[in-house]
C-alpha cells in the first residue's frame, strides 16, 4: 500500500508536531509514503482558482507519473485539491487548456486519473477497519472525544461526497472515535468552520467560533477534540487562550491531530506523538492515557 505523500506546509510550519506523527503512524500501519517534494502549495482557498488550479494540476500530473494516489493530512489541502481535481476531471477541455498553457513546457501532462485522499479516508476506504483494529495496542477506554471535521473535508458534495456511499465520509471521524475505543462526545458544530479563514478579516468572529466549538465540547465532557485539519488546529488550539479572553470563559480543551489520536491507540507514547508542542496543555490527556493498560 503506497501513496504519493502531500504533507502540506502547515504540518511542518505552524503545526510541526503533525508531520512526524503522521510519518510514524503511517510506518506503523505499513502505509508506504513517497513524499512529493517538487510541488507547490494548494492555494489553501486564499489563492484564486486561476492560479491554484494549474499549480494543483501540476501536482496531480507528478503523482500520475509515479502511478500513485495522493495522500494528504490536511483537510484544507484535501478540500482545495478535491475541488481542483473535480474541475479538471469533469471538464476535459479545461484540462487540455491547463496542460497546454501551464504544464507542457515542463514536459508534464495531467490525464485526469489521480485520486486524492486524506489519511482519514484512506483508513476507511483503502486500508480497512478490521486491519486497523487488529493493530490497536491501547484502546482509549474511558476517554471522551469530540470530533471536529472543519468545512473543507465535508463539502462541496460534487468534490467530496460524489456518491451516496461516499456520503459516509461525513461520519468517518465519529466512527473512528468509537473504533479506537473512546466515547463520542458529539457537538453540533463539528462540521462547521473553525473560524481560521477569517482570522485576518474578522478576528472577533473567528475567535467567537473557536469559543463556541471548544466550549461546547467541554460542556459535553470531552477530554479532548480531534481534528483532521492542521488549520483548524491552529485556531482551536493556538487561539483558544485568546478566545477564552474574548468570550470571558475558561475552556482548556486539548486539541489533537488525527495522527496523534491514532498513534496513542496504536501504543505510541504521548512524547512520540509530540503532544507537548501544543498551546493548550495536553497533560490531562497524557495522564489518562498513561493509566490505560
Amino acid at each position: 500500500m503506497k501513496y504519493a505523500f502531500y504533507p502540506g506546509c502547515v504540518s511542518r510550519g505552524g503545526c510541526p508536531e503533525l508531520y512526524p506523527s503522521a510519518v510514524k503512524v503511517s510506518a506503523k500501519l505499513d502505509i508506504e509514503l513517497e513524499e512529493l517534494k517538487d510541488v507547490g502549495c494548494t492555494g489553501a482557498g486564499v489563492l484564486p482558482q486561476y492560479l491554484s488550479d494549474p499549480i494543483n494540476a501540476r501536482t496531480f500530473a507528478k503523482a500520475e507519473a509515479m502511478g500513485l494516489p495522493i495522500m494528504t493530512i490536511c483537510s484544507t489541502c484535501q478540500g482545495v485539491m478535491s475541488q481542483a481535481n473535480y474541475r479538471l476531471k469533469a471538464d476535459p477541455e479545461y484540462r487540455t487548456k491547463i496542460n497546454k498553457e501551464y504544464l507542457s513546457e515542463e514536459g508534464l501532462e495531467y490525464k485526469g486519473t489521480t485520486e486524492v485522499k486524506h489519511l482519514l479516508w484512506v483508513l476507511f476506504e483503502d486500508y480497512g477497519i478490521e486491519r486497523l483494529k487488529s493493530l490497536l495496542r491501547k484502546p482509549l477506554k474511558g476517554l471522551r472525544v469530540s470530533p471536529f471535521y472543519g468545512c473543507y473535508i465535508r463539502r462541496p458534495p460534487e468534490a467530496i461526497t460524489p456518491t451516496k456511499e461516499l456520503n459516509r465520509r461525513k461520519n468517518y471521524l465519529d466512527e473512528l472515535i468509537e473504533i479506537l475505543g473512546a466515547e463520542l462526545a458529539d457537538i453540533s458544530g463539528k462540521g462547521k468552520c473553525c473560524g481560521f479563514p477569517i482570522l485576518t478579516a474578522n478576528e472577533e468572529n473567528s475567535l467567537a467560533m473557536v469559543g463556541k466549538h471548544t466550549g461546547e465540547a467541554k460542556e459535553k465532557g470531552a477530554d479532548f477534540m480531534v481534528t483532521p485539519c492542521p488549520l483548524c488546529h491552529l485556531n482551536l488550539d493556538g487561539n483558544q487562550p485568546r478566545a477564552e479572553a474574548q468570550e470571558g470563559k475558561e475552556i482548556g480543551l486539548p486539541i489533537l491531530h488525527l495522527p496523534q489520536f491514532l498513534g496513542l491507540a496504536l501504543g505510541f507514547d504521548p512524547g512520540e506523538m509530540n503532544l507537548k508542542r501544543h498551546i493548550v496543555s495536553t497533560q490531562p490527556v497524557e495522564s489518562k492515557v498513561s493509566m490505560l493498560t
Binding site: 506546509c9 502547515v10 510550519g13 505552524g14 503545526c15 510541526p16 508536531e17 517534494k37 517538487d38 510541488v39 507547490g40 502549495c41 492555494g43 489553501a44 482557498g45 486564499v46 489563492l47 484564486p48 482558482q49 486561476y50 492560479l51 494549474p54 499549480i55 501540476r58 498553457e101 501551464y102 513546457e105 515542463e106 468545512c151 463539502r155 462541496p156 458534495p157 462547521k192 468552520c193 473560524g195 479563514p197 477569517i198 485576518t200 478579516a201 474578522n202 472577533e204 468572529n205 467567537a208 467560533m209 463556541k212 493556538g238 487561539n239 487562550p241 485568546r242 507537548k276 508542542r277 501544543h278 498551546i279
Partner: protein
C-alpha cells in the same frame, strides 16, 4: 393521521415572552406542514401568526424551522418529520428578530442587506431604443442566479450569521454577484469596493454550507468565491485582507510554499506596532513549545522556479 404541532409563540402585545402551543390535528398522509398550520389557524386558533403566499414553493415566504431544520413549510411534507413520533416542532429561524409567533423581521434578516449591495444595474452604455440587449448565451450563468427567490435558506444555514448578524450573508452577496458579473454593467471595481468593506465578502469562511441549503442549486458560496477571485484580480481594496493575500501569494510565488512566520507578520502590517505587539505573546508561547516557524529562514522548494512561472503566466493571462 393525527399529528401534534408544537408551535413557538410570542405575542408582543401581551407579555412578549416566548412560549409554545400544542395543537393535535387530523391531517391526510400527504399533508404539507403549511396545510397543518392553515388548518390550525382556520379551525382551532385564529391568533396563530405565520407567513405564506404562493403555497407552491415559488415565493420563499414561508420559511420556518421544522423540527429544527429550515424548510419552506409549503413544500415540506409532515411525514418527513414524524418517523420517530407523531409530532413536529415549529420555530422561527435561529438568528432573526421575531415579530409574532412564526413571523419574523425580513427587513433585518434580508432586505436591508439586499439593499446594501445596490441591487440594480448601472449600464455601461445608454440603452438603444430603450433596451439594453445582450446575447442569450451571455446571461446563461446569471439566469441561474436570477432564479433566487429570496427564501433565505442559505442565510439560515450560514456559519457566520449566528456569530455576527451584521454579516451581509450569502443571499445578499449572491445578489451582488448577479450585478457584478452582468456584462452590461459598469464600474465593477466600485461595486467590489462596497462588498470588500467589513461584513462583506472577506468575512465569509467559504464553508459551502449555503450551497447545501439552497433549494435552487444556485451555489451562493461559489458566487462569493468568484467575487473574491475577481477582487484578487482587480486588486484587493480591503487593507487587512490585501496585506494577508499579498504576503501569501508572494511566499508561494517565490518559494513554492507558504511561509507562515512571514504571513503572520506581514498580515499585521510591518508598521502596525500595536498589531505586532499582539502577536508577541502568541509567538513567545509558540516558540517555547518549539512551534513557531521562523520567518525569512524559509527555504525554497525544489521546483519553486516552475511554480513561479505558473504564477507569472496566470497573472499575465488575467490582465
Amino acid at each position: 393521521m393525527e399529528v401534534t404541532f408544537k408551535v413557538y409563540r410570542k405575542d408582543p402585545e401581551k407579555d412578549g415572552k416566548p412560549g409554545r402551543s400544542n395543537y393535535t390535528i387530523d391531517i391526510p398522509e400527504d399533508a404539507t406542514v403549511l396545510d397543518g398550520l392553515l388548518k390550525i389557524r382556520d379551525e382551532i386558533d385564529s391568533t396563530l401568526a405565520f407567513r405564506a403566499s404562493c403555497l407552491r414553493g415559488y415565493c420563499g415566504d414561508c420559511l420556518v424551522r421544522v423540527s429544527g431544520r429550515a424548510r419552506l413549510s409549503c413544500v415540506a411534507k409532515v411525514t418527513a418529520f414524524t418517523q420517530k413520533a407523531p409530532e413536529i416542532s415549529l420555530d422561527p429561524l435561529r438568528i432573526v428578530p421575531v415579530i409574532k409567533d412564526l413571523v419574523f423581521d425580513w427587513d433585518a434578516f434580508m432586505w436591508n442587506k439586499i439593499r446594501a449591495v445596490q441591487p440594480w444595474l448601472e449600464p455601461k452604455e445608454p440603452a438603444s431604443d430603450g433596451e439594453n440587449l445582450i446575447p442569450d448565451a451571455a446571461m446563461k450563468d446569471l439566469r441561474k442566479v436570477m432564479s433566487c427567490y429570496y427564501c433565505g435558506m442559505c442565510d439560515e444555514g450560514c456559519t457566520v450569521l449566528p456569530v455576527d448578524f451584521n454579516f451581509l450573508g450569502p443571499a445578499a452577496l449572491t445578489k451582488a454577484y448577479r450585478f457584478a458579473f452582468d456584462p452590461r454593467g459598469k464600474e465593477t471595481r466600485e461595486r467590489l469596493k462596497i462588498l470588500e468593506e467589513p461584513k462583506g465578502i472577506w468575512d465569509c469562511v467559504h464553508c459551502y454550507e449555503a450551497d447545501e441549503h439552497c433549494p435552487r442549486g444556485i451555489e451562493p458560496t461559489k458566487r462569493i468565491i468568484a467575487l473574491r477571485d475577481l477582487a484578487f484580480k482587480l486588486g484587493i481594496t480591503n487593507e487587512k485582507v490585501a496585506r494577508h493575500h499579498k504576503s501569501f501569494a508572494a511566499s508561494v510565488k517565490e518559494s513554492g510554499w507558504l511561509d507562515e512566520g512571514r504571513l503572520a507578520i506581514e498580515s499585521e502590517g510591518l508598521t502596525n506596532i500595536k498589531g505586532l505587539m499582539k502577536l508577541l505573546p502568541i509567538a513567545a508561547r509558540a516558540m517555547a513549545r518549539g512551534k513557531a516557524p521562523i520567518p525569512y529562514l524559509h527555504p525554497k522548494r525544489p521546483g519553486a522556479d516552475k511554480i513561479k512561472k505558473i504564477f507569472e503566466k496566470g497573472e499575465q493571462e488575467t490582465k
